[in-house]
């Protein structure tokens, strides 16, 4: 059996024209363009052996226009999240997303990266106002705009969120910005049994004790809920008071500590806490019904004992988002896959493997269940990328594409 030698041509692009030229070149040479990002390289089916490997970057800080009095900003998709946040600091503004500093804006959008702050500010689909992308014919398409409301035309902006780079190459995006909170009050709670969380999560969210963001994980033998309250010190302390009243009534919860911080330092802390994900050989994004999050986490923790303590996890209960993984072997990953499959068959859940250990890729499908909308995805793919150039086969199974 002969092995096909991969022919990967790295390409860097900074401008829309460069991207348009690349697409024309790709059409002419029948060579796909691949950009899986840096934190999601393993997400989806592997790219074809021969391809252009695209890296987008931005000239300067990446801000193309900052309409600071309108609280909106237009950025280059090749700019990193950290670059943009640093530049927005000058006007005390931010894009309130949970994303690592080194991810590009394009990667954040195409992988729908979000975290606990979605509870208060929304995710990429809620913060995006418009974007520009190069389509499969090399055209520069510009849906949306810069106003906070806009219903003209079709909302291709939202369509692109989570599209895994298969429908076009995003090169700029306009976001809504928010004022950087004066303070983040970080609160750590212990909870005796995370399964209880589902029974009072909604009640919590509708009270004054509602945090800006909430995570759940198992740390040093304890179940920990980490909260972030945003605002002025008086506001945060007031909410802390409401939280304490709430937990007195509920029982089984205890405040372990509080720590006032800046928005930036809290963000760095959260990034550090999830840094294990970036080097994990196995990583799953699991989405369950929010009320089931605590129950799922407990099951995951019980399963973790079978994997020699290598399995880590954390959750954003408000949206049922769970990340789990670690440095697992191929056989351990298969075991984990079997466990997750059980969860998916027992209740409403979806899972995506962001990283699979070498040797397990052929045995673990990247997405489960296969989206029921796949026929619509195919239609859109055939329309927006008729030559099958962009990350072909990553998620959307095309009937045909030209190599």
């Amino acid at each position: 059996m002969t092995t096909t030698q991969a022919n990967i041509t790295p390409i860097t692009a900074q401008t829309p024209q460069a991207l348009q030229d690349l697409v024309q070149q790709a059409i002419a040479s029948r060579t796909p363009i691949v950009d899986y990002g840096i934190a999601h390289r393993g997400l989806g089916n592997p790219p074809p052996a021969n391809h252009y490997l695209l890296t987008q970057s931005a000239q300067g800080p990446g801000i193309l226009d900052h309409y600071d009095r309108d609280m909106t900003v237009r950025v280059a998709a090749g700019a990193t999240f950290g670059q943009i946040q640093q530049a927005l600091k000058a006007t005390n503004q931010c894009i309130p997303l949970d994303a690592d500093d080194d991810l590009t804006i394009g990667e954040i959008i195409t992988t729908n990266t979000y975290g606990p702050l979605r509870l208060t500010y929304g995710g990429p689909r809620d913060l995006l106002l418009g974007l520009h992308y190069i389509d499969g014919l090399g055209r520069n398409i510009q849906p949306g705009g810069r106003t906070v409301k806009n219903v003209a035309g079709l909302d291709i902006t939202r369509l692109m969120v989570g599209s895994l780079g298969e429908l076009g190459i995003i090169h700029q995006a306009t976001f809504r910005t928010y004022a950087i909170p004066e303070q983040v009050l970080a609160v750590e709670l212990s909870i005796d049994n995370p399964e209880r969380l589902g029974s009072f999560l909604t009640d919590w969210i509708i009270t004054d004790a509602r945090p800006a963001g909430m995570t759940l994980d198992h740390d040093n033998g304890q179940w920990i809920i980490r909260l972030a309250y945003h605002g002025k010190a008086t506001a945060c302390n007031s909410q802390l008071g409401s939280l304490q009243s709430m937990i007195e009534k509920l029982g089984g919860l205890q405040v372990l500590g509080t720590s006032p911080q800046t928005y930036e330092s809290y963000g760095q802390q959260m990034q550090a806490r999830r840094s294990w994900q970036r080097s994990a050989s196995a990583l799953i994004k699991l989405v369950v019904q929010p009320a089931s999050t605590g129950q799922m986490m407990k099951q995951i923790q019980a399963f973790a004992s079978k994997l020699e303590g290598k399995l880590k996890s954390w959750a954003s209960p408000a949206h049922g988002l769970i990340y789990l993984g670690g440095d697992l072997s191929s056989s351990q990953a298969l075991e984990l896959e079997g466990f997750i499959r059980q969860i998916i068959t027992q209740q409403s859940a979806i899972r995506s493997w962001i990283a699979r250990p070498a040797g397990s890729e052929s045995q673990i499908a990247p997405f489960d269940p296969i989206p029921s909308e796949m026929p619509l995805f195919q239609r859109l793919k055939n329309t927006m990328d008729p030559h099958g150039l962009f990350n072909p086969g990553r998620c959307i199974v095309q009937e045909q594409h030209q190599q």
């Binding site: 009095r69 729908n112 906070v148 219903v151 035309g153 079709l154 989570g162 509708i206 619509l376 329309t383």
Partner: protein, 481 residues
Amino acid sequence: MSHPHPVIADLQSIVGPKGIVSDRQELLVYECDGFPIAKGMPVAVVFPTTTEQVSQCMKTIARHGLAIVPRGSGTGLAGGCVAFEPGVIVSTSRMTVIEKIDIANRYAVVQAGVRNLALTDQLAGTGLHFSPDPSSQRAASIGGNAATNAGGINTLKHGVTSNHILGMEVVLTDGSIINTRTTGLYDGIGPDIPGLFCGSEGVLGVITRLWCRLVDKPKHFRTIYGVFESTFDACKTVADVVASGIVPTSMEMMDGAMIRVVEDAFHYGFPTDAQALLLLEIDGVNQILDEQLEDIIKLFNANNARDVKQCSDPVRRAELWSARKRAFGAIGRISRSYCTQDACIPRSKLPEAMDVIAGIGRKYGLKIPNVFHAGDGNIHPILLFDEDKPEEVQKTLQASEEILEYCISIGGTITGEHGVGVEKLPLMRKLFPPDTIKAFQEIKNSFDPDQLINDAKNVPSEKLYVELLKPMATNMAGGAG
């Protein structure tokens, strides 16, 4: 005597005789929506009650070579649910079942014809509600809200309809039923199809069922209104509040002309010599609202507010919001007809925009009072005219176009929440570059290759162009839209 179209009998076999309207007198109700200038008479209106019936109806209508025109409650304001070519309106107004409410996971499943407020009413006492609150929410359907990506007064803080739709079931023109993200989960895999369908104005398919996100119903409010001697000062206050980082629940404005209309109709005690009234509300944690209110009052006063009143009394609060929501209804006392524009502009441009609109009004000899969502930059100039006077109709259309072209020139869009429909279609080519229009058309055609459903609405068509002042569409090879 003309024979009934054969599609009617075929549709009757699906929905029964009471599920279809074909009598010409009864069809008059459906010849327009809230945009009365453009009228079109459908062949029939059919009222399915299930998704399967919608599917069968659409296949039947297509088989007869007729256009499919989706319609919710008909509260649209851009002609989006009117038949401008021989076609059948598929109304979801009898699909009114709230199928599931899941408090623990904060979502509800509803048929498309469920009225917006009906869902929130059903949630009374739970602490949750369905957030989008267009002024038409008593009558508007959630399916229609999604199709137009409806906004409302609270969108500044709480978002538009698309932010509150987790998933949906849609029927395409070939009758196929698609479920997209209909699991009650807060995420999915792949491109955001519900996001694409929201705001598509029925040009891709008929939304039949929705998975609606439920959010906490705010409990604590502070309401404040200020009276100004100029719209410029009021608009600058809006821009300053936004720039300060405060995110009010809503900021609504009425100009002097509108204040007088509302006061004459409802006697709320508004000063009729004022040039602008800015109504602002914040919600959130009770203990911090007073602090925020202080900051806001400072901004009002810094911009020469003549009179600033706080309102913590729930009765007065309800009155104030009633005044805002009834403003359009009050117009009927002073004008036979009106046309509301719906541009959205950067908030920092509001001060100058009001002056420009007033100038356009003077140029065309039209009265244009304003009541709008100032916090979003979503302006609603209301052009008053008599639809029985063709010259007034023509001036209204010209003035509307000029207003919207100006809004485009300052970085705005032609529609913030009402939709493009047929009304604003000619301006789509001024708002978007040609390749973007082409991309919209290609996506539309991928869902609707035979261009059967809501053609020449929202997305310019190569096949059809609707002349607003002519009763029915003009079919033009190559289209002029």
